[in-house]
């Protein structure tokens, strides 16, 4: 069916910038796949290369059982939703939605029927005769989706489909998008720089940096087991605490205190290793009583997050952030102990920043 594979895919721009650098990737049929990364990481270029809007410099790309590397975009049987939606301002919603059918020479009456049906399915009832300029941002986004749906492609490509919506609408549209993809079961690749969006929507996420994939995995995997410090700091709404530490016996010394070596890394480190200790703020607890295997410090800043609070603790000059429940919020300046959930803490290689993992990592 519509599995997407890239084989040693390279996209080099004039001037020698490699936006995509030797990529091997397989996106399963029906999968909702996210390309996540900071701007300039090559994620959009990869998407546009899949679409055929950029020609690959090297390597091959297949969609389903067809090698599409040299096919023009119109022959690849893909649909794309652009960041700015690219709705034609001079056409009505109906004409916009049915534009792909017009190109396929579907008779007018039948393509308008399809447009009306698709529009109804995407909560665009009664807007079919309007111009895009007369619609709200959310409606425009759904028209763009409807146009993609109407072309009945084997692959959907979304380029930051939610970024032009305001925050509240974005949540609504996110849920909508996920349900739409579930219902249609069409292989979907979407690009985003928003890690929360990727975590919420995708079946699997590829995190990219400088044209290379840093990690591919389910949202859970990339959140809990980031492959390196880049992924660790990029994923998560509050960045992971990453501090240099030294292995000493069964413990690592970090921020002037000593915490146990995470079980997942225990057999891979030895005494005296320079490592980076990582712990998500969500996996740290605040204790006003002394606790063994914890980090002592004082709460310097408390930022309210609603039902929780983000507390910044000064532990001998090292700043550690943790998320505490609203009931456990410490006083500003209060002394206390940061207690990690040991099985959720991670160690990264001090030099390369790669995750240190016990069982030989079968690339998640």
């Amino acid at each position: 069916m519509a599995e997407i594979t890239t084989h040693q895919l390279v996209k080099e721009f004039p001037g020698g910038v490699r936006a995509v650098d030797g990529l091997d990737l397989t996106i399963a049929d029906g999968e909702f796949f996210a390309l996540l990364g900071p701007s300039g990481c090559g994620k959009t270029t990869l998407l546009r290369t899949i679409a055929g809007l950029e020609a690959a410099t090297k390597g091959r790309l297949t969609i389903g059982d067809r090698d599409v590397t040299e096919l023009p975009p119109g022959k690849r049987d893909v649909a794309m939703v652009f960041q700015d939606y690219a709705l034609f301002p001079h056409m009505s919603v109906a004409d916009n939605i049915s534009y792909p059918l017009k190109i396929q020479r579907v008779p007018k009456s039948s393509r308008h029927a399809t447009a009306a049906e698709t529009a109804d399915g995407l909560a665009l009832h009664g807007l079919i005769d309007r111009r895009p300029g007369q619609l709200s941002g959310g409606q425009q986004q759904r028209v763009a989706l409807a146009r993609a749906v109407a072309s009945n492609p084997t692959v959907f490509l979304f380029d930051e489909p939610l970024s032009n919506l305001d925050a509240r609408l974005r949540l609504e549209a996110r849920t909508f998008l996920k349900r739409l993809q579930r219902d249609l079961g069409v292989t979907t690749v979407f690009v985003t720089h928003d890690q929360a969006e990727a975590l919420a929507l995708a079946d699997r996420i590829a995190i990219m940096k400088e044209g290379r994939i840093q990690q591919i995995g389910s949202p859970r995997e990339v959140f809990a087991r980031p492959a390196n410090t880049f992924v660790a700091s990029f994923v998560g709404s509050t960045p992971m605490n990453l501090h240099t530490a030294t292995v000493s016996g069964e413990h690592v010394k970090v921020a002037g205190s000593s915490v146990p070596i995470p079980p997942s890394a225990r057999s891979r480190v030895s005494d005296g290793d320079e490592v980076i200790w990582g712990a998500r703020p969500e996996y740290l607890r605040w204790s006003t009583e002394p606790v063994e295997d914890s980090i002592e410090g004082s709460a310097t800043i408390v930022e309210n997050l609603g039902a929780a609070a983000l507390v910044t603790v000064d532990a001998g000059g090292t700043l550690i952030q943790l998320v505490v429940d609203e009931d456990d919020e410490p006083e500003m300046g209060a002394r206390g102990w940061v207690v990690p959930r040991i099985d959720r803490t991670l160690l990264f290689d001090g030099a390369s920043g790669e995750l240190i993992l016990d069982d030989t990592p079968t690339s998640p």
Binding site: G52, K75, M80, A86, F88
Partner: protein, 289 residues
């Protein structure tokens, strides 16, 4: 209260200030009045004389009549020259519009080597090789091509002069239009020509309209090029005929001239109104060379 004590000197200073601002205000209005008179005075004749029973050079409140326009219709050259102006203006505009649109689109969307240098040198060229500066070689060229006294000569020379600026303006317009429109059509399988027809031309319509209006206005009033390239009076456009009306010997026919100058001015004023209503005249200001 100590306040009365303190405000007295202030009041004096205020008075000086008031006198000064009043003087400034008066100066300002005198100047604005002068500007209005300077710019309105010549134009007044244009709107009164055509409707005067006995048009004279002196400004006067007209005794209303449309008789002068009858004189204009009876003149063998007047309406004909207006029609000639239409042919030349529309012909030039059509060539400029089509060629500039094609070139601007290609230059905006396709990475042609040396594109920016090409554009800037063209623009530079069109601003230094003006009709005035190049009238001699243009005249000789047209003579050698045996195109003297043809509309084609006028149209081609004018189009050559207007094209660089037209390409530049349209390219700027296309550069500001997101590429995703075309890319989106392309993803759905539209061919390049379909993309042009379905997407690019409709979206570029305001830019194209601007260039069309601009081209017509430029050509309509141009005097020099038809003046040197055309010979026979029945070929002359309005701009040249207007000139012959008042320079050819004898007493100028004021009835004819007044009606003709008004009629000949109306198209550009209408086009100006059209553009200024749609885009604000500041825009028009930016593009009239």
């Amino acid at each position: 209260m100590t306040t009365t004590h303190e405000t007295t000197p202030m009041k004096h200073r205020d008075a000086v200030g008031i006198v000064r601002t009043t003087l400034a205000k008066i100066g300002r209005y005198v100047f604005i009045g002068f500007v209005i008179v300077f710019f309105a005075l010549p134009v007044l004749w244009l709107v009164t004389a055509p409707f005067d029973q006995a048009p004279a050079l002196r400004l006067s409140v007209p005794e209303f009549t449309l008789q002068n326009f009858q004189v204009l219709i009876d003149n063998p050259y007047a309406l004909r020259s207006m029609w000639n102006s239409v042919i030349i203006a529309v012909g030039t505009m059509a060539i400029v519009l089509v060629l500039a649109a094609l070139a601007a689109y290609a230059l905006s969307r396709v990475r042609v080597p040396g594109r920016d240098i090409l554009l800037y040198s063209l623009l530079l060229l069109s601003s230094i090789v003006t009709g005035t500066a190049a009238m001699v070689p243009i005249f000789v060229l047209i003579t050698e091509l045996q195109l003297i006294d043809t509309y084609l000569a006028v149209v081609l020379v004018m189009a050559g002069g207007l094209l660089p600026a037209a390409i530049f303006i349209l390219k700027d317009f296309m550069d500001n239009t997101p590429k995703s429109y075309e890319e989106s059509a392309r993803v759905y399988g539209a061919s390049p020509l379909q993309i042009l027809r379905h997407v690019v031309v409709p979206i570029a319509r305001p830019g194209l309209a601007t260039i069309a209006v601009w081209g017509v206005v430029q050509v309509w009033g141009n005097f020099l090029i038809p003046f040197i390239l055309l010979r026979s009076p029945e070929q002359f456009p309005g701009a040249v005929v207007m000139f012959t009306f008042y320079t050819e010997g004898g007493q100028p026919n004021l009835a004819l001239i007044s009606a003709f100058s008004l009629l000949f001015s109306i198209p550009v004023v209408l086009l100006y109104l059209f553009v200024s209503r749609r885009y604000g005249f500041r825009f028009y200001g930016g593009i009239k060379s």
